[in-house]
Assembly symmetry: C2
């Protein structure tokens, strides 16, 4: 199994891929688009992308990419996120004039960063990539917000550990592949749908699940590009798509929803037991 | 009327403030936090912040700031967004090695940017601020994605106009003040609520509106920091809070929702008529 992820070695996505399958071979990609395209082109068997973080919210781009490609979701991973302020060996907190990281990571350490006086906060495309840049460009007056593993990989020191504002900081990742799961172990189904632009439309859409006692997890609304203020919804159903209630609910939904698409049915994340 | 906005002069938020009240005095702020705090501290009478864009989606930070402060929403503004690639006079498209802008603006020009070969795309905190940086640091090999007005303000040339991927690119802004509207002209109400973590809870929450024929606009779900996978919802109701149906619906919702808060009741945006 080769799992494509976005970022440099040491990225949180790489760690999530190894949580999904410890024996897998990680494959670094430059962008989320590339993660999807290397799976499509059979250069990787699986791809892993972050979809949601308890603090920062949804990574909308990846919902868009799921819709744009025909790669089914086959699994999910929860990863606790522990951010650190990392810098070159010898750099002290007082030397730091600029802090680099991914916008989501910066948002997750907002209070900590506001407490650093006279420091410029710069958004970068990548947490591990920010660590890499500091290491390779030998930036003595800069630091990055990144994982402990990035510090190891790029030979940096941890100036301050666990600098995120909230301790319950977890990112949920989705794993995609070319073939849908067939073993029937799924207990979670992610769908996308639109509703007609009329009063009560979303209520009717949710009723097809509630009336069948299907529990709803996340519900995400997204404006539809080029159709101002019409919304596309993404929902997690706590059931297997093969379950007859779920199949009937989706048929019922399709009776009035202009678009209904199943993005994948997969086992929900279970924390590995201690010692495993 | 003094309207605080985030960004440098020439920012889209400044233009939105002037759309709200052409005679208002704009007041530039460094961050969204500052917009809220200068209104709170009476240094400005109003504040304006973007809340949603048809392409890029919701600006979640600003929902958080609405919740964290006690400043009611008193109005909204729709602003068509036209992005341009701007650079120093004399810089050609071939010279451009780096493009700076706000992550949302970069996301909105993704296809255009992917078409530029060998160009590094760098996220910055501000569109107009990116234009300012290019102008002040005299960067001959860089460009910014910014408004036409930023180009004027910072004496830059437009290398390419209207580079956004979709033409229907509109940002919705919310206007906050210290006092809620009292004139009774409101036809839109924004609320925040949480639901108990049990099956069908959101369906029940929406029923209090649907059963009273109250139309729902945007519905946004947001994970609650420090309570993994519990969600806070933001909803726009197409009615005045003073309407008895709305007041009763909100009381009904409060019977089972742990949190219900009205963030403001205000007139929905009406496009100015031609010639106005």
């Amino acid at each position: 199994m080769r799992i494509a992820f976005q970022g440099a070695p040491g990225a949180y996505s790489e760690a999530a891929g190894l949580r999904f399958k410890p024996s897998a071979e990680p494959m670094a990609c430059k962008s989320f688009e590339e993660v999807f395209s290397v799976v499509q082109d059979k250069k990787a068997t699986h791809g892993i992308v972050p979809i949601e973080n308890t603090i920062g919210g949804t990574i909308r781009r990846n919902y868009d990419l799921l819709l744009r490609h025909e790669l089914p979701i086959v699994g999910e991973v929860h990863l606790p996120v522990i951010h650190n302020l990392v810098a070159l060996e010898g750099t002290t907190l007082k030397d730091v004039k600029r802090v680099y990281s991914h916008p989501q990571a910066l948002a997750q350490c907002e209070r900590f960063l506001l407490g650093l006086e006279g420091v410029e906060v710069i958004a970068n495309y990548d947490t591990a990539g920010s660590a890499k840049m500091i290491s390779e460009s030998n930036l003595r007056d800069a630091a990055a917000i990144a994982s402990e593993r990035s510090a190891e990989v790029f030979d940096l020191a941890i100036l301050k550990s666990a600098v995120q504002d909230f301790s319950e900081n977890i990112t949920r990742f989705l794993v995609v592949s070319r073939e849908a799961l067939t073993q029937g172990k799924a207990d979670k189904t992610t769908i996308a749908f639109t509703v007609p632009n009329e009063p009560g439309a979303l209520f009717k859409a949710l009723s097809v699940f509630t009336l069948r006692n299907i529990d709803l997890g996340k519900l995400e609304s997204r404006p539809i590009p080029a159709r101002p203020w019409e919304y596309l919804f993404f929902a997690d159903l706590k059931t297997d798509r093969e379950d007859s209630r779920c199949a009937r609910a989706l048929m019922h939904l399709a009776e009035f929803a202009p678009l209904v698409r199943t993005l994948g049915s997969y086992p929900s994340w279970k924390e590995p037991e201690l010692g495993e």
